[in-house]
């Protein structure tokens, strides 16, 4: 069942490539605007890079949250998922994972290429990729809670940002922090361990919260 839902969401993403590409292009363009506007000051760009890439990743993953449940909601498939004998938490975990594969994973793959614009050294690029790899699934999981809570509300998009962005802050701090620590020549293990801990906690708690929010939203 878990794999069915992932397979279905990936299939839908393939049929509607524009949704996936919007997120990715948004990320690429936001990250690329900064070197153009700030100017070719290498030291400045290098200092700014981790923060900018992370903020852009955050906003890009926000961008796609609205679509996470809304189409399933409007065509009635979400109702059917709630009536599935399978636990709803498992289903939404599958949906969140599919969301990450479609929106988070491309960002992780694209990040090192964009990092080059900021003249990041190779090992900093590596840390950036690892931090995004650990952090972006957390964004999908927490974002899904917000998306589930605001389902069917008018102006839900703004509300999602208000609900979810504050919760993203710890991920942002430690994600960008890991890369900064690496460039400053100090150990970044603690940052990555904390990101890993966020990931584990949200893997356990988020599906339950998403399922509960969906039940409330659909009542």
């Amino acid at each position: 069942m878990f794999f069915w839902i992932i397979q279905r969401d990936l299939l839908l993403a393939v049929r509607r490539r524009s949704d996936v590409l919007t997120t990715l292009f948004f990320f690429v363009i936001v990250v690329s605007l900064f070197p153009l506007s700030v100017g070719p000051e290498m030291n400045l760009l290098r200092t700014m890079a981790p923060g900018i890439v992370w903020v852009a990743a955050l906003l890009a993953s926000m961008l796609s949250l609205g679509r996470l449940f809304s189409s399933d909601y409007s065509d009635g498939t979400l109702e059917q998922m709630l009536l599935s004998p399978q636990s709803l938490s498992i289903l939404v975990l599958g949906k969140a994972l599919a969301h990450w594969l479609v929106t988070g994973m491309p960002l992780v793959v694209m990040a090192p290429v964009l990092g080059i614009q900021y003249d990041l050294p190779a090992d900093a690029l590596f840390v950036l990729v690892v931090s995004l790899l650990l952090g972006t699934p957390v964004l999908s999981l927490i974002g899904a809670i917000g998306a589930a809570l605001t389902l069917g509300l008018r102006g839900g998009g703004v509300l999602v940002s208000l609900l979810v962005l504050p919760l993203y802050i710890p991920v942002l701090i430690f994600g960008a922090g890991a890369v900064e620590a690496n460039m400053a020549g100090i150990s970044y293990d603690a940052h990555l361990s904390l990101l890993g801990a966020f990931l584990l906690v949200s893997l356990v708690l988020a599906p339950w919260a998403i399922a509960a929010s969906l039940r409330v939203s659909l009542e």
Binding site: M1, W4, L11, T77, E79, S84
Partner: protein, 204 residues
């Protein structure tokens, strides 16, 4: 088997119905009647466990459906107003995926047979977005053929269907009822389904 005890429903500050009682035994058909806005869909969603009644209780085989959860869902098929078909998936994919979500993994041949029965021959590989309302409805109803559940809850199953399709659904319902299944449905169209026992519930 399915029993509603003293059910009441409130939407916003409007009370839709109160003191609704019924008992439905194996092989029984319950038709819910009432004008638009009388709470038929609300009652059906309640019976599915999608929403909770403000008052009263719904029991299945003597136990409250709130406690049964997954166990109840595995015996239930609900087809609501929304067809539950995804526009970007083909008819065949829609049927196979919606059945899998309902806990019934079906082979491609089974799915094709069910679609053929519903008169969707040759349209299996079309994306659902090109179908007409009636055809979408047929795709949704095809799930009744493949899911071996005991209780069917159908909200306006005949909406947008043509005469041939109504005939098909009538046969399907009669067969299910003869096999000791239960059906709860709303409809504004006159349909004559033979059943061991028929309960008419009128909401005002």
């Amino acid at each position: 088997m399915l029993q509603g005890i003293n059910l009441a429903c409130v939407r916003g500050d409007r009370r839709l119905f109160k003191a609704v009682n019924f008992t439905l035994e194996a092989g029984g058909l319950m038709q819910v009647h009432g004008p638009n806005g009388s709470g038929k869909t609300s009652l059906l969603r309640m019976l599915c466990g999608l929403s909770n009644p403000v008052l009263g209780e719904i029991t299945w085989r003597g136990a409250s459906i709130r406690d049964l959860k997954g166990e109840y869902f595995s015996e239930l098929t609900y087809i609501g107003h929304l067809s539950g078909t995804k526009d970007d998936l083909t008819v065949l994919e829609n049927l196979r995926i919606s059945s899998a979500l309902a806990g019934e993994h079906i082979s491609e041949t089974q799915a094709r047979d069910a679609l053929a029965y519903m008169g969707l021959n040759g349209r299996e590989l079309l994306p659902a977005k090109v179908l007409s309302q009636g055809q979408r409805r047929r795709v949704a109803l095809a799930r009744l053929l493949v899911c071996k559940t005991k209780l069917w809850i159908l909200d306006e199953p005949l909406a947008a269907l043509d005469i041939t399709a109504v005939k098909l659904i009538q046969e399907l319902l009669e067969r299910h009822l003869a096999e000791k299944g239960l059906v709860v449905m709303t409809t504004h169209q006159a349909i004559d389904v033979a059943a061991i026992s028929t309960v008419h519930l009128r909401l005002v």
